[in-house]
C-alpha cells in the first residue's frame, strides 16, 4: 500500500483493522522481552502480557467485521480497548485507541487516514494519558506518546501522507525508548528501558510492516538500549533482590458504568485510596486501575458512582515475589509469612509439614520455622542464623521442645538483635503462645502475654515404644503405646486411639479446649475416625483435631 492517503472510507476501515491486527501480532512475538523489561511502576513482569491481552480484546471484538466508516470502527476499538484494558500499560494503551477514535474519520468528504489525523490522535493519546494518571512520570509510555505526537506533527507539516508520518513515528519511538533510562532512574538501576514504551514502538513496527504489505507483518524487534549496548534479557540481579522488600498490595481493575460519570472526581478519589491509579473512559463508562492493600475499598468506592463490572484483583506481592524468585532462579527459601509489616518477627522450631504450616498460617507479621524436634535438635548456630535472617531487629524465639530451650537461651547474647526466648517446652504450647501474639503490643508485652499462655497449657503426647524403655520411672515394653502428660506417664496400652482417649479422660478435666495434633503415622482416614470418636466421647469442652505430621508421636495434645 503506497497511497499517500487513503481516500475511501471503507478501504480506510479495512486497513485500520489490518494494522491493529498486526500490532497485536507484533506484541505477541515480542511479549517475553517486554515482560522482562517491566520494572515500573511495579516489577511484576506482565507489561507485554497485559498489552497483548488488551490488543487481543480489540481484535476479538472487531473480528473480521471492518464494516462501517473508519470512524465507527475506531469507536468500536476504543470501547473494546477500554473494557478489555489490562494493567497499567493496557489502560494507557486504551488512550491510543481513544485518540484514534476522536481523530479518524471526523471530516466528511476528506481523505480519512491522513498523516495529520494520525498526528492528532497521538496528541490526544498523549494529553489524555498525562491526565489519566495523577502523578505522570517521564521515561514511560507517556513520554513515548508525547514525543511521537511531536514528531508526527512536524512530519505531517512537511509531508501529510499517512505512510510518511507512520514511518517517522516508528523510527523516532525507538530513539525515545532508548532515552527512557535517562528520564527514569529506576530503569537505569535495573539496566532496562521502559517496557510499555518499547511495547508501543513494537506496535508501530508491526503497523508499518502491515501498511507496507511486508511478510511476515510482525518480527522480533531489538531492544534499543542506551549507548548501543545489548539488552541482557533480564533485569540486573541487585535490583531483583531490592524490589522484593516493597509492599505492593493488590492490583485492582474494574469498570464503572453509570449515566453521568465525573472521571476527575473518581480519579481524585482513587488517588486518596491507593497508589498509581489510572482512571479513564467516558461519561457513561470508566475503567479504574489502582494499587492498594484493600481492594474492597476501591470496589466500594466504585459502587458509589455506578454499577461495577469486569473486576480483576491480583496480589502484586505474590506476583513480585514470584517475579523476583523466577529471576533469581531460586525457589527454596525458608517459608515466611509476610502479611503485615513486621514490627516483631517470630522464629519457631517445629518438625512435620502440618506443624510447620500451622505455625506459618497462625503467625502474624513475619514468622519463620526452624526444622527440628525430639531427635533432631537444632543447634545454637541454626537458631542464631534464623534469628539473624528474620526481617526485624525484634525477635521472639520459640524453642518448642524442652531439649532446645537451653540452646535457644544462648541466642540473645550472640546477636545484636533484641531477642526474647519464650521457653515453650513443646510445639503444642508454642502454637498456643503464638495465638497470644499481638501486633499492637510491644516486645515486652508480647513476651509477657506469651509466657502467661505458655504457663497455662498442659502438654501431652501418645507414642509407641520402639524398644524396652524406662520413662519417668515407668518401665515400658517394646511395641506398647504410652501417653505422657507434663513429665509423667499417664497410661500404657496397645491401641493409640484408646490410649489417647484415656489420656484426655484423665487430664482434660475442667479444660476449655483440647487441641489434638495427628502425627505422620496417622492416615487421613484414621484422623477422621479419631475426630469422630473424640467428638462423640467428650462434650464438656471443645476438641479440635488438626494435622501435625510430627514424627514419633501419633498424637500430641494441648489442654487449655
Amino acid at each position: 500500500m503506497q497511497n499517500s492517503t487513503v481516500a475511501s472510507d471503507s478501504t480506510g476501515a479495512i486497513l485500520l483493522v489490518s494494522m491493529i491486527r498486526a500490532t497485536a501480532n507484533s506484541i505477541e512475538i515480542n511479549r517475553d522481552t517486554i515482560n522482562a523489561l517491566n520494572v515500573f511502576p511495579v516489577p511484576d513482569g506482565d507489561t507485554g502480557t497485559n498489552m497483548m491481552l488488551t490488543l487481543r480484546s480489540v481484535v476479538d471484538d472487531i473480528g473480521d467485521d471492518a464494516s462501517g466508516t473508519i470512524g465507527e470502527v475506531a469507536n468500536r476499538m476504543a470501547r473494546a480497548a477500554l473494557l478489555g484494558a489490562r494493567g497499567n500499560s493496557g489502560l494507557i494503551l486504551a488512550q491510543f485507541f481513544k485518540g484514534l477514535s476522536e481523530s479518524l474519520g471526523t471530516t466528511d468528504g476528506e481523505p480519512l487516514l491522513r498523516g495529520s489525523s494520525f498526528a492528532k490522535s497521538l496528541r490526544i493519546a498523549a494529553t489524555n494519558s498525562y491526565k489519566a494518571v495523577p502523578n505522570p512520570v517521564e521515561g514511560t509510555m507517556l513520554t513515548v506518546y508525547r514525543e511521537c505526537a511531536e514528531v508526527a506533527e512536524a512530519s505531517a507539516a512537511k509531508n501529510g501522507s499517512f505512510e510518511n508520518v507512520l514511518s517517522a513515528v516508528a523510527a523516532s519511538s525507538l530513539e525515545t525508548v532508548r532515552r527512557t533510562p535517562q528520564l527514569l532512574p529506576v530503569l537505569a538501576e535495573a539496566e532496562v528501558v521502559d517496557s510499555g514504551g518499547f511495547g508501543f514502538a513494537v506496535m508501530l513496527d508491526g503497523a508499518l510492516r502491515a501498511l507496507h504489505g511486508e511478510e511476515p507483518e510482525a518480527r522480533v524487534v531489538e531492544v534499543p538500549m542506551p549507548g548501543g549496548t545489548k539488552f541482557s534479557g533480564s533485569v540486573k540481579a541487585d535490583f531483583v533482590d531490592a524490589s522484593e522488600e516493597i509492599d505492593w498490595g493488590y492490583c485492582t481493575v474494574f469498570a464503572i458504568q453509570a449515566e453521568d460519570l465525573d472521571l476527575d472526581k473518581i480519579r481524585a478519589h482513587m488517588d486518596q485510596l491507593g497508589r498509581s491509579p489510572i482512571v479513564d473512559g467516558t461519561d457513561v463508562i470508566a475503567k479504574v486501575h489502582v494499587h492498594m492493600e484493600d481492594p474492597g475499598l476501591a470496589l466500594s468506592a466504585g459502587l458509589g458512582y455506578g454499577q461495577i463490572s469486569n473486576i480483576e484483583i491480583a496480589n502484586m506481592d505474590e506476583q513480585t515475589a514470584g517475579w523476583a524468585s523466577a529471576r533469581r532462579g531460586d525457589a527454596t527459601s525458608p517459608p515466611v509469612a509476610t502479611l503485615a509489616a513486621p514490627e516483631i518477627a517470630v522464629v519457631a522450631v517445629a518438625a512435620g509439614d502440618g506443624l510447620t504450616n500451622l505455625i506459618i498460617s497462625t503467625g502474624l507479621g513475619a514468622t519463620s520455622v526452624v526444622e527440628g524436634g525430639d531427635t533432631m535438635n537444632p543447634s545454637v548456630a541454626d537458631l542464631l542464623a534464623a534469628v539473624n535472617a528474620a526481617p526485624s531487629n525484634k525477635v521472639i524465639l520459640l524453642p518448642n521442645n524442652k531439649n532446645v530451650v537451653v540452646a535457644a537461651q544462648q541466642v540473645p547474647d550472640l546477636t545484636g538483635k533484641d531477642v526474647r526466648v519464650v521457653p515453650t517446652r513443646s510445639v503444642q504450647t508454642g502454637v498456643a503462645a503464638l495465638l497470644a501474639f499481638n501486633i499492637d503490643l510491644s516486645l515486652d508485652q508480647n513476651e509477657k502475654a506469651m509466657n502467661e499462655v505458655a504457663g497455662e497449657v498442659g502438654e501431652g503426647g501418645v507414642c509407641q515404644a520402639s524398644r524396652d524403655v524406662t520413662i519417668y520411672g515407668h518401665e515400658i515394653k517394646a511395641g506398647m503405646t504410652f501417653a505422657t502428660f507434663d513429665d509423667d506417664i499417664v497410661t500404657v496400652g496397645r491401641d493409640p486411639l484408646f490410649v489417647l482417649i484415656k489420656l484426655i479422660e484423665e487430664r482434660a478435666d475442667g479444660a476449655e479446649i483440647v487441641t489434638v495434633y495427628t502425627g505422620e503415622a496417622v492416615t487421613p482416614e484414621q484422623a477422621e475416625t479419631t475426630t469422630k470418636s473424640l467428638e462423640e466421647k467428650f462434650s464438656g469442652f471443645d476438641i479440635e483435631v488438626v494435622h501435625g505430621g510430627q514424627p514419633h508421636y501419633d498424637y500430641l495434645i494441648a489442654v487449655e
Binding site: E293, A301, L303, L364, L435, I513
Partner: protein
C-alpha cells in the same frame, strides 16, 4: 432555632432509641442478586442472616444516594433550621461522601448542614448520635454539637468477635485484619475499628474464651458513658454478656442491640461485640 439529627442505618440504633431522641436514620442499600433492599427497612437483620450462609451470590451494600440525602435534608428543612448528619467511617462506605455531596448540591439552600465522619460503625456511631441529640435538646448549637460529635467519636469503640473472617474477606472490608486470615486452627478473631477500618486485636481460642474476653474488654475500657452489647444471631449470648458488664455503665444498664444487615453482611452470623463510649477522662 431547632437542629435535626441524622445518622445512617449502620448505627444499628434500636428503633425505640432513635424515636425517643428524634433521630432520623437514612438506610444504606443491600443488594442480593438482582434485588435491592433498604437496610433495616425492606430487609430485616434476621432475614439477612438466614440467607447469608447459603447465598450463592455475595450480597453487596451501597451508600444511600446523594438524591436520597437531599430528599431527607429538604424534608427536615421544612421543620428545622439546621441539621447535623453523623455517619459511618468514610473508609468503609461512601455514605459520608454522599452526604457531603448532597450538601454541596444544596448550596443555595438556607439550611446549615454539618456532616461528621465518625470513623466508627454500629452502636459506637449510634451512641454518638444519641449523645449529640441529648446535647441539642439541652440547648447546644450546631457548632457545639459538631465539636461534641467529633469528641465522642474519638472516645467511641466498636469491637467485634467474629466466628469466621470469611464475610469480612469476601466483602472486601478485611483491612489490616488480613494477618488473622488463614490460621489452620479454628480461632475466633476479635477485631476493633481503628482509624476507621477493621484492625486485628487478638484471637480467642474458642467461643467461650472469646465471650469471657469481651466481658474483660468492657472492664478494660471502663469507666463508660454508654455501652451496648451487639449480636448478629445469638441474642442469648449477648444478654448474658450484658448482665455481666452492665455494672460498668453510669446507670447500670447495658443496651442489647442487633447488628443490622449492612454491618452484619461483613461480620457474619455468630458475631458478638461491643459498641461503647468511654467516659471523658479527667
Amino acid at each position: 432555632m431547632s437542629i435535626a439529627v441524622v445518622t445512617d442505618s449502620t448505627s444499628d440504633l434500636p428503633v425505640d432509641l432513635a424515636e425517643k431522641h428524634g433521630i432520623s436514620v437514612i438506610p444504606l442499600n443491600v443488594h442480593i442478586e438482582d434485588e435491592t433492599f433498604l437496610d433495616g427497612v425492606t430487609i430485616s437483620a434476621d432475614e439477612m442472616y438466614r440467607q447469608l450462609p447459603d447465598s450463592k451470590v455475595i450480597p453487596t451494600t451501597s451508600a444511600p444516594s446523594v438524591g436520597s440525602f437531599i430528599e431527607l435534608y429538604e424534608e427536615l428543612a421544612k421543620t428545622h433550621d439546621e441539621i447535623i448528619s453523623i455517619h459511618l467511617s468514610s473508609k468503609l462506605s461512601m455514605t459520608h461522601n454522599s452526604a457531603v455531596n448532597a450538601v454541596e448540591e444544596m448550596n443555595a439552600s438556607s439550611t446549615r448542614i454539618s456532616v461528621v465522619d465518625t470513623q466508627q460503625a454500629s452502636m459506637a456511631l449510634g451512641w454518638t448520635a444519641v449523645r449529640v441529640a441529648e446535647a441539642i435538646s439541652d440547648g447546644a448549637s450546631l457548632d457545639e454539637a459538631t465539636d461534641l460529635a467529633k469528641n465522642l467519636s474519638e472516645r467511641a469503640v466498636f469491637i467485634g468477635m467474629v466466628d469466621t473472617l470469611t464475610y469480612l474477606v469476601r466483602g472486601g472490608r478485611i483491612g489490616k485484619a488480613q494477618g488473622f486470615v488463614g490460621s489452620l486452627l479454628r480461632v475466633r478473631p476479635i477485631l476493633i475499628l481503628r482509624d476507621g477500618e477493621a484492625h486485628p486485636m487478638e484471637r480467642a481460642r474458642n467461643r467461650k474464651k472469646g465471650i469471657a474476653r469481651i466481658k474483660a474488654l468492657a472492664a478494660e475500657h471502663a469507666p463508660l458513658e454508654k455501652l451496648a452489647v451487639l449480636y448478629t444471631t445469638d441474642e442469648a449470648d449477648a444478654r448474658d454478656i450484658a448482665n455481666d458488664v452492665a455494672e460498668f455503665t453510669p446507670d447500670g444498664v447495658a443496651t442489647v442491640a442487633q447488628l443490622g444487615p449492612v454491618v452484619g453482611n461483613y461480620l457474619g452470623p455468630g458475631t458478638l461485640g461491643l459498641g461503647l463510649i468511654k467516659a471523658e477522662s479527667g
